[in-house]
Structures are given as structure tokens and as C-alpha cells.
């Protein structure tokens, strides 16, 4: 809440001092310290990356076993701090989550450290998978904020991706794309997994975050598949059968996930998420048949954006609605340049594309101002 605005309103006679105090009190009790979370998130991310760098330097001045012992002692110390800190009544969620994140980062880098000291050449997914196995109970049962939710999701995606890539590379002749695409699409299913626990946990807000991350992964994955498809066509590759297999696998996982969300996450926001998931599945399936038309590809992309905007309106998500409008506008702008391609040399096409861009930007700003749901409705 902006103190300057409050002062201005008092001076303008819009509210009296009492109202200003009531507003301040209410804000103090109900505000989410989003800025603080962002700073803590940034800080622990920096510490995590620093740890990776520190381990990767492979200091020769200290014997490997000693380095590992120091690393392990840090892990034990942080675990003890968390264990005894938990009993303090005034325990702070920010510190708790930051410490969980750093413990997770210490654990992950410990695998790299062991591999380095003992010259292990095991594939990376084995270390990531073991990390996921050991840290999932801790992160999923006790995480509360974005840093931990994002860390777990990133760990899951990295494990699944490196596993599928490794197996695809070593599959001698024919890589069974469908099978690997199913595995690669598993992060999408986290949306349903999170929807299930959201209603059963005493930390529904954490699971909501994981559900949002899963949805984000789904939307990005579906968009990427569409872009990859058009890129394939652009490079003059023949219609790729393995691409179709990937699309079917992704659509399959997405539909199952939509069903899970529909069942476990009741209410408007659950229905909206299920709707977006279905739209993503449909996007994948229709992308198979459109071929290499620029217009059809862009239309499909924009339709997907519109469906996200509609779902956001239905559920009352302001940020998601505005994001969808921006993405649609950007795609339209890119499209206008794509279509003006042959005119670009003449200058006329460039001018037209410029004016169109201004028009689209104006319309996007108007739409996202006037039609976006109010800020306070929550998913």
C-alpha cells in the first residue's frame, strides 16, 4: 500500500484520518510481503548458484575427502538449525523457506562434489533422481513459498528431461519417441498432483503455487511444440512423424491431468485450469494437421491465448488475463512482420507493420485495462 497515495487522498478530502488508519491496519494484517519474498528468493538463488560455482572450482589446495566432510558438516548444521528452530513459536516462514532452499541446494551440489572427488561418470539423471527421492518429503511436506515450490519443480523437470535425453541418445537405432515424450510430459501431470494435495494439506497455498507452476509448464510446453513445428517447416524438414508422436503423448498426459484437476480442484479456478489444459491438448492435436501455413499456425497460437484469457476472466485472475493479452498482441505484431516479409524491402511494408504494431499495442492496453478482473479475486 502506498503511503503517498493515502496522504494524497486525505488531502483531497476523499478519506478522513480514521479511514486512513483503518486502511493501514487492514493492509498490515493482510498484505503479502511479496517484495520481501522476491528478495529472499533472489538471495537464496544467489547462494545456491554460488555453491554450484564453489564446488565446480574443485579446489586442489584442500583434499577431496576434507572438502566433502566440510560440505556434509554444513548440511548437518543446517538440518539441526531447522530442526531446533521449528520449535520456536515465532518461527518465520521466510527464513524457514530460505533455509529449506539452501539445504536443497547443498544436497544437490553434494552429488556433484562426490562425483568430482571420486571421478564418477554416472549419468546426471541418476544424481538428480536420487536428490529428488531424498528431498521430496522435506520440500513437499514442509515447503511454504515460491523458492521451494520452484526448486522442487525445477528438480523434477531436470530429472525427467536428462533421463529421457540420456535414454534417447543411447537407444541404438529407433528411438521410441512416444514413450520418451510421455516421460518428458510428466511435469504437466504435477498440476493434477498438486490439485489433489491442495484440498488435503494444511498448506493449500504451497500446493496452489505448485499447481500454478505445473500449469505454466503446460502452457509453455504446448506453445513450444507449436513453435518447434513451425520451425521444422521453416527449415524445410519433411513432416516429422516423431513430432506427431510427441504431440499425441503430450496431449494424452494433458487430458489426464485436466481430468484430475476437474475432480480434485472444485470451483471456478479449478474449472479454468482444466479448461486451459484441454485447450493445450487441443492445440497439440490440431497442430499435427495444419502443415506449414504461417497464418494457420499463428491463428492456432492466438486461439490458445484467447482461451487462456477467457479462462482467466471466468476464474477472475487479473495477472493471467493481462499476460495472455500481451502474448496475443506480441504474436499479432510478429505476424504482421512475417506477412510484410516481401514488402520489407520497399519500406511500405515496414511502415504498415509499424502502424499495425501501434494499433495492436493500443488495443491490448485498452482491453487489459478495461476488461481484466479486479485485483483482489484470488485463484
Amino acid at each position: 500500500m502506498s503511503e503517498r497515495k493515502l496522504q494524497a487522498w486525505i488531502e483531497a478530502g476523499l478519506i478522513d484520518d480514521q479511514a486512513a488508519i483503518r486502511i493501514r491496519n487492514w493492509e498490515a494484517q493482510n498484505s503479502r510481503p511479496l517484495g520481501l519474498w522476491a528478495i529472499v528468493g533472489l538471495a537464496v538463488l544467489a547462494i545456491g548458484l554460488g555453491l554450484v560455482s564453489l564446488i565446480a572450482a574443485n579446489w586442489q589446495a584442500i583434499p577431496g575427502t576434507v572438502r566433502l566432510a566440510i560440505h556434509f558438516a554444513c548440511i548437518i548444521a543446517l538440518a539441526l538449525y531447522l530442526f531446533f528452530g521449528k520449535q520456536r513459536a515465532e518461527y518465520n516462514a521466510l527464513i524457514h523457506d530460505g533455509a529449506l532452499f539452501i539445504l536443497g541446494a547443498l544436497g544437490l551440489t553434494f552429488f556433484g562434489h562426490i562425483g568430482q572427488v571420486y571421478q564418477s561418470t554416472a549419468p546426471i539423471w541418476q544424481a538428480l533422481g536420487l536428490w529428488l527421492l531424498l528431498f521430496s518429503p522435506l520440500l513437499l511436506l514442509f515447503g511454504r513459498g515460491w523458492p521451494v515450490a520452484a526448486m522442487w519443480m525445477a528438480g523434477f523437470i531436470a530429472t525427467v528431461d536428462t533421463y529421457a535425453m540420456d535414454k534417447m541418445n543411447t537407444a541404438a537405432q529407433y528411438a521410441p519417441t512416444f514413450q520418451f515424450s510421455l516421460i518428458l510430459s510428466l511435469p504437466i501431470a504435477i498440476t493434477g498432483f498438486a490439485a489433489f494435495f491442495r484440498g488435503r494439506s494444511n498448506r493449500p497455498d504451497f500446493w496452489r503455487k505448485l499447481e500454478i507452476l505445473g500449469l505454466l509448464v503446460t502452457v509453455i510446453a504446448a506453445g513450444m511444440m507449436l513453435l518447434l513445428g513451425s520451425l521444422n517447416d521453416l527449415l524445410g524438414h519433411a513432416h516429422d512423424k516423431s513430432m506427431d508422436e510427441s504431440r499425441i503423448a503430450q496431449a494424452l498426459i494433458t487430458v489426464v491431468t485436466a481430468f484430475l484437476v476437474w475432480i480434485f480442484h472444485k470451483g471456478r479456478s479449478g474449472q479454468a485450469i482444466a479448461g486451459i489444459l484441454i485447450a493445450a491438448a487441443l492445440l497439440n492435436l490440431t497442430a499435427m494437421v495444419i502443415g506449414n501455413s504461417i497464418i494457420l499456425g499463428a491463428t492456432l497460437f492466438i486461439l490458445f491465448g484467447v482461451s487462456i484469457a477467457v479462462a482467466s476472466l471466468y476464474a477472475g485472475w487479473r495477472g493471467a488475463f493481462q499476460g495472455a493479452v500481451v502474448v496475443i498482441a506480441l504474436r499479432l505484431i510478429a505476424l504482421s512482420f512475417q506477412l510484410a516479409d516481401d514488402l520489407l524491402g520497399s519500406g511500405v511494408g515496414l511502415i504498415l507493420a509499424g502502424f499495425l504494431t501501434l494499433g495492436i499495442a493500443y488495443a491490448a492496453v485498452r482491453i487489459s485495462r478495461n476488461y481484466a478482473p479486479d485485483k483482489d479475486t484470488e485463484a
Partner: protein, 174 residues
């Protein structure tokens, strides 16, 4: 607001969630440490270069130049089979490919692993993690045609090959 919900009191679940990763990491370390100590050490000539792996730091990607295993025109570039090593450790007298049952008089049998990082290819190529501070020196030595890289490997009784360290000496005939 979940950020403000009071943390649950002492619980077995909390203790277990913290103990699982700590004990798990400890066991993985202990097992890795134990396995790294056992085996017979051999010196193998290698050639290579120095790239970087994000999680584990700099490593030398090397190619084995097994004594007696000349890569002729008709030889496959990469060999995924097992090797019979003879000699007095760490000096290798001869290396022969094992086709069929393993000979009885091998001092060590090195077996190609198939579940590895993509940079490792059987007993043809491998990697050695090196300190960042000395990576440049390794690279210079590896690029020097007058110098021959010698890799110390540790071969376990089950055939697992683990690189240990790398040294350099003047290349024979130079």
C-alpha cells in the same frame, strides 16, 4: 495466509523429513568413498582436451591409447568390449581384447560400462575431473605434441574402471 500459519510443533514427520536426506547423502558418500579405494592401479597413455561440466567443474575428456591396441584403418574407432591387462601394476606390459571367455592369466580385466555420462564411451573415451586452477596447465600439456599424458586408472575386480590422476612425460621418439 499460509505465510503466517504457525509452524507445527515438534513432530516425527519433521524429524524424518530432515533425516532422510542427511542419512541418504551420508550413505551415498560412504559407499562412493569405499568403492573408490579398491582396485589395481595401472598407467595408460591418453590424449585429450579440457571442457567444463556445470555441476562438477572442469574435466579432461581423454581418449585411451592402450599399449598394443593400434587403431588401424580396419579397426573400429571406438571399442565397447572388455580388455585383458597384463603387467606389473602400475606398468602395463600388454593389453588384448577379450573376445569370448576371459583368459585366465590377466592381471586385471577392464570392462566397458554402458550406464555413463555421454562423454564416456566404453574403454575408448573417458573424463577426469580436474581442479579449475590447473585446468589451463593440463590443456597446455595435452596440446603439446612433445608431451604424453599418462592416466592412472584403478580397475576393480568387477572390471569397473575409475580414473584417478593424470601426469605427463616426454613422448617416446621425440
Amino acid at each position: 495466509m499460509s505465510e503466517d500459519t504457525p509452524a507445527p510443533k515438534f513432530s516425527l514427520k519433521w524429524a524424518a523429513a530432515l533425516l532422510i536426506p542427511v542419512i541418504g547423502l551420508g550413505l551415498i558418500w560412504a559407499d562412493g568413498h569405499r568403492k573408490a579405494q579398491i582396485g589395481t592401479d595401472w598407467d595408460v597413455p591418453v590424449s585429450g582436451y579440457d571442457p567444463r561440466d556445470l555441476l562438477r567443474g572442469h574435466y579432461i575428456a581423454y581418449r585411451y591409447e592402450w599399449p598394443g591396441q593400434i587403431r588401424g584403418e580396419n579397426e573400429p574407432m571406438d571399442y565397447y568390449g572388455d580388455l585383458c591387462i597384463k603387467g606389473t601394476a602400475p606398468v602395463i606390459a600388454s593389453v588384448t581384447r577379450i573376445d569370448g571367455p576371459a583368459p585366465k592369466d590377466c592381471n586385471s580385466i577392464a570392462r566397458a560400462q554402458d550406464n555413463t555420462m555421454p562423454q564416456v564411451e566404453g574403454l575408448s573415451r573417458g573424463i577426469l575431473f580436474v581442479p579449475q586452477a590447473s585446468a589451463a596447465a593440463y590443456q597446455k600439456d595435452l596440446a603439446d605434441p612433445k608431451r604424453q599424458g599418462i592416466l592412472r586408472i584403478r580397475v576393480r575386480d568387477d572390471g569397473f574402471v575409475r580414473p584417478v590422476s593424470m601426469t605427463f612425460r616426454a613422448r617416446a621418439g621425440q
